[in-house]
Subunit: 357 residues, 2 copies
């Protein structure tokens, strides 16, 4: 039996789902992999809790209950006010440690780098450290001990397919096209059905499909970060500002409050109705697509053939199509729920096991 | 630089494509993985060639040219008449060896078992060793040093998705549905378009999509073996004869020559036309589906919803849909070319790299 010591940054929805998944997997992983996963540190934005011998099942459950109730770790009986994340790695780190980053901040970079320098593994759902300067991406990934499946398509094995199927089979990628936003998938499917843009955004926001400020989704930057991570995984030395991104609203609507933005939405209805009609008239449909080809990436609303994999996609699933030398007539396609706490936690856990074995 | 010694059984189309792919990958793998792949033994059905220090690029190219010209290894200057494959493993085997099985016979089992007992790896495109008695599957796979991605869906990472994404994320599989025969995909797509069954089989045979005796494809046993391998990968202790298989011809047509069979085909046209019409009338379509659920597997012609992943599939691509606890509303779907020498060789090479690293 091998024990792996887990240090987790982030106890939001994904972080809590991951803790629960690790607890649920305990017996299965012991007999299947001879593997024990023991949490030795947990951090949220304000507090931390450290147990060198590992937290018990009951302690972890109690912590998750406290977090569900909105209590930060620093205000619980197990936690304290945390300082820098590097200090947590320094104090809690030990042989066979894996640092898990399920936050949404680039502030974890120094702690991740320290962990990798110490020989630990790292598993990320957080895109920010990998979507900053290329030098940081290189520094973090050069050890081969950092995995980041959940950064693109949540649990859908997009990164694994690239890193463990396409690249090691000496296949060559001609083009990758993907729909990496469930929210924008919901919108483009609705547009195709003739619904109004403003109504769809309002509905998506009410359903919790968007961030509180829907411009965070409609701006396309989240998709651009995923495209950047895919490009860099193939060895393309791109920076985020080299990826043209088409937001789904004009620059003047980027200013002002959310209420202003929502109120101004109906003026976009005609714009998108015309775009959809033009696409449908040409036998195509609109999708919000990340395209990678020839060392370049771009992100935006594209007309795609209705019978293509992207054109057949409906609703909020993610989809990626790899056009390669081997998959030339038709692409290699992966499709599935690309967001949500369970899919994301599942992707991180698969990475933890891969690192641990 | 780590050197991996390759012993390959099989020099048919896939075997030759694999040798070429290994040669083409040489520089890439050296800088990318610090890995040298050196062939130390090659075997075909009659002959073998062994070079303890590895064959040169030129020697391998010359051997492939001879094989392309229809010459067996035993009749070339590098080869000799081979005895048992175990002897090849015994003579050529050494530290960091991987045995590659791209034959289509169960006769490789003792040699594979010997290789694994010696601590070598094994990479299979050959389904037969894994589709025999469950005890043999267990014996071969229990070491964790045998990989078999290419046995299901060629290079499409079906097995990796199960073994390295779904199972280690502690997800639970409710149902797997898949189309694992390009030939039968071609047929069901043609039936949906209103073509006659007999004409489609004749066309598929003329295009080389079927075996010389098309009953080898239409019988469904190849699909059943893939279903069995998937089931066993999930830990289900099934035997091949426990999988109900629906052949696409009646028992009386199993006898007789290929010519007899081809001549009798038109009498099936009405049968399939009626089945297709009934399916379409119900908003469904026909696919030849492997279904795994509740510890059981079956293989046959099924009515599937037209808007489902299987219903949207056209042509000869393979498709697998994993319905799991995480992928509950919509399945995790993989689709791509599931046959052909390049896809199959690509799948084997990815396995070789995974074993080597």
């Amino acid at each position: 039996m091998k024990t792996i010591h887990l240090i987790q940054f982030g106890l939001g929805g994904v972080g809590r789902a991951l803790v629960q998944r690790v607890l649920a997997a305990r017996d299965d992983f012991e007999w299947r992999y001879g593997l024990r996963l023991a949490y030795v540190a947990l951090c949220d934005s304000r507090g931390a809790a450290i147990a060198p011998d590992g937290f018990s099942h009951a302690q972890l459950q109690a912590m998750m209950a406290a977090k569900e109730a909105g209590v930060s770790l620093d205000a619980t009986e197990w936690g304290y006010k945390r300082g820098e994340l590097e200090d947590i790695v320094d104090i809690a780190g030990r042989e066979d440690a894996i640092v898990i980053d399920v936050t949404a901040t680039e502030e974890t970079v120094p702690a991740l780098q320290l962990a990798l320098d110490r020989g630990y593994g790292a598993a990320l759902a957080n895109k920010k450290p990998l979507a900053g300067p290329m030098e940081i991406f290189r520094g973090l990934t050069s050890t081969g001990r950092l995995r980041y499946e959940a950064t693109v398509g949540a649990g859908v094995p997009v990164i694994a397919t690239l890193n463990e199927a396409i690249i090691p089979s000496h296949d060559s990628v001609a083009r990758i096209e993907g729909c990496f936003s469930g929210t924008l998938g919901f919108l483009t499917t609705g547009l195709e059905e003739g619904k109004a843009f403003s109504g769809l955004v309002t509905e998506a926001r009410a359903l919790g499909y968007t961030e509180p400020d829907p411009r965070d989704d409609l701006g396309g930057m989240d998709v651009a970060r995923k495209a950047l991570i895919l490009a860099r995984t193939m060895g393309w030395p791109l920076e985020l500002d080299q990826i043209p991104v088409e937001p789904l609203f004009p620059p003047e609507m980027a200013e002002g409050s959310v209420a202003d933005f929502m109120a101004a939405l109906p003026r976009l209805d005609d714009v998108y109705r015309k775009k959809v009609d033009a696409a449908l008239a040409a036998g195509k449909t609109l999708r919000y697509v990340a395209t990678l080809a020839g060392g370049e990436a771009s992100v935006g609303l594209r007309e795609v053939a209705r019978e293509s994999a992207l054109g057949q996609l409906r609703g909020s699933d993610n989809l990626v199509a790899f056009h390669t030398a081997v998959y030339d007539a038709t692409p290699l396609v992966l499709q599935g729920r690309g967001a949500g706490v369970h899919g994301t936690a599942a992707g991180v856990l698969a990475d933890i096991v891969a690192l641990a074995r």
